[in-house]
């Protein structure tokens, strides 16, 4: 068995385990789906009330795809937090696998889970607004930006995953803080042009800004990928920079936790 297949098999361990967890907590998965769908609907209804189909679509796309990104983000960010919570972290950290393998497994599951979750919400929302037409939509653009968006989010999510290593108690909550700041600056429900100048600076380094903009243009206006290079290259650059940076920072945090004895809770 080559080293690569060994690592791929090991990363499947995390996919399978997370699947077992989702399966065991299926009641909660359904509740979470209802929660997300209700959230997306209530935001879309603001557009419906304004009687503006374009606003309705803009909000809807924002709600649904922000949901996708945040689901992907949370599954990755919580990889460490759930093990901390269960007390299994020391065992997983002892296993003979690279940290990149560990995180690759978390990322793969996060994406598959996010896609299924988002698809379910999309269906619910489309059923709720039967008059909406997606005749213009460019599916390739939408799919492309979902992939690019998650790719660029992975590194940031890894940074969030570090927090529970460093802050034993409150690490997981701090990931939420990061998430809400991203929501604020990324133009999910409004154009970033209305934000104060200093906030727009942050907007430009948030991958969500470009990912949601791209999805919106593809879904509402049917713009092909080839015309959206302005959104594509920042995502590619950020993904390429953030992932190695996330891995590096994770390694540093792990070293720190091992030096200061922060991996353990009991015994």
């Amino acid at each position: 068995m080559t080293a690569l297949t060994h690592e791929l098999k090991a990363s499947y361990a995390f996919i399978e385990r997370n699947f077992f967890l989702s399966r065991r907590y299926w009641g909660w998965e359904i509740a979470f789906l209802i929660y997300s769908a209700a959230g997306a609907l209530s935001i879309s209804l603001i557009g419906a009330q304004a009687g503006d189909p374009r606003l309705l679509l803009t909000l809807m796309v924002g709600a649904i795809f922000w949901n996708y990104l945040s689901v992907v983000f949370s599954w990755i960010a919580e990889t460490i937090a759930i093990e901390r919570w269960e007390g299994t972290l020391e065992y997983t950290m002892m296993a003979p696998i690279r940290r990149s393998t560990h995180l690759l497994g978390a990322v793969a599951y996060a994406m598959v889970y996010g896609l299924i979750h988002t698809l379910a919400i999309l269906v619910a929302v489309v059923l709720f607004f039967p008059d909406l037409s997606f005749a213009h939509a460019n599916i390739a653009t939408v799919a492309g930006f979902m992939v690019l968006g998650s790719f660029s989010f992975v590194g940031i999510a890894m940074l969030a995953a570090i927090l529970p290593l460093l802050f034993v108690e409150r690490g997981a909550q701090m990931a939420f803080v990061l998430q809400s700041v991203l929501l604020l600056v990324s133009g999910v429900y409004y154009s970033i042009s209305i934000l104060p100048g200093w906030m727009q600076v942050i907007s430009h380094v948030s991958p969500a800004t470009y990912a949601i903009d791209g999805v919106r243009k593809g879904l509402i206006d049917g713009v092909p990928l080839s015309e959206l290079t302005g959104d594509i290259w920042p995502l590619l650059v950020m993904g390429t920079l953030f992932i190695p940076f996330g891995l590096w920072a994770f390694g540093r945090a792990e070293k720190y936790a091992k030096r200061t004895g922060k991996l353990k809770r009991v015994g």
């Binding site: 098999k9 385990r17 269960e86 020391e90 065992y91 991996l263």
Partner: protein
């Protein structure tokens, strides 16, 4: 602090021929066999409060475990047993010294070492909502073990430990603490570790389960060619399972030898009854008063 030192006999035993006590920094040239575990002058400190001096959890500890042997680590609560196990597991970084597992340096060849070891700790940590089978399958995959084989082995090992097959499919949270502990032992054995680190594996088990686990430990030692490091508060267990015992006190090795040697030593030197109980009491003679006195001294 100094009064404590005076009270404690800090003698270690003369070097035995079969299991050479490591001379700090030197691996005896006449021992060609690679030891299962070599701990060489290891120190670990924890910074517990900002302005206080760090706690020295392990102070200049050396030990050598030959292949197939079992070494027991005894000591009072807080003496550093679990810290030593964690250092060897790579869950804590060494401040000083080095650790080798079957000749592989822990820091430089981390992956090689990780493949050779597994650990069972006092707390049986699992995904509590998942079944033992799901938990063990996850562990097996991390170690690159094929899932079909892992399932068969899980059934075999847990049956051997007295866990009914039907329990393997139910959430771990429904099992008693003792059963969870047995599953934790099964998880470690599943990966066939050459060096097995057992941190109080039988604490909290009923007498029969304890015996099951002890018999099983003896069995794997023979059949799996495993070398074992065992910490325990059960002195009979230590005597039964270990060829060599190390007593830790405040992170320092205060006694080392086979159970027989240690018992003889306390009888000859301190006029105590030749039991493991006397050995423990003699070498860990630290009372609550000492602890408080030390704390007061630190606060000054």
């Amino acid at each position: 602090m100094s009064s404590t030192m005076l009270k404690e006999p800090k003698m270690t035993l003369p070097i035995r021929s079969a299991v050479p006590t490591p001379v700090p920094g030197v691996v005896p040239a006449e021992t060609p066999a690679i030891p299962a575990l070599l701990v060489d002058r290891v120190t670990k400190r924890f910074q517990v409060a900002r302005k206080k001096a760090p706690v020295v959890a392990i102070a200049n500890v050396s030990l050598r475990l030959e292949r197939g042997g079992t070494i027991g680590i005894l000591g009072a609560n807080g003496s550093g047993k679990s810290t030593l196990i964690r250092l060897v597991s790579g869950l804590l970084t060494l401040d000083e010294g080095r650790v080798e597992v079957f000749g592989h340096d822990l820091e430089r060849e981390e992956m090689a070492v990780k493949r050779l070891i597994n650990r069972v700790s006092v707390d049986a940590a699992f995904f509590k909502k998942l079944s033992p089978m799901e938990n063990l399958l996850f562990a097996a995959r991390l170690y690159g073990i094929d899932s079909g084989f892992a399932r068969r082995e899980t059934v075999r090992i847990t049956e051997r430990l007295g866990i009914a097959r039907k329990r393997l499919g139910r959430p771990v949270e429904q099992l008693s603490r003792g059963m969870q502990q047995k599953i934790a032992i099964a998880r470690a054995l599943l990966t066939s570790p050459a060096l097995l680190l057992l941190d109080e594996p039988t604490t909290g088990l009923d007498p029969r389960s304890k015996l099951d686990v002890q018999t099983f430990i003896e069995e794997i030692r023979k059949t799996h060619d495993a070398s074992i490091v065992l910490t325990t508060h059960d002195l009979d267990e230590a005597e039964r399972l270990c060829d060599e015992i190390i007593v830790l006190n405040d992170g320092k090795v205060v006694a080392q030898g086979s159970p027989e040697e240690l018992k003889r030593l306390v009888a000859e030197r301190y006029g105590q009854a030749p039991t493991m109980h006397s050995v423990f009491m003699t070498y860990t003679g630290r009372s609550l008063d000492d602890d408080i006195a030390e704390e007061e001294a630190e606060d000054e």
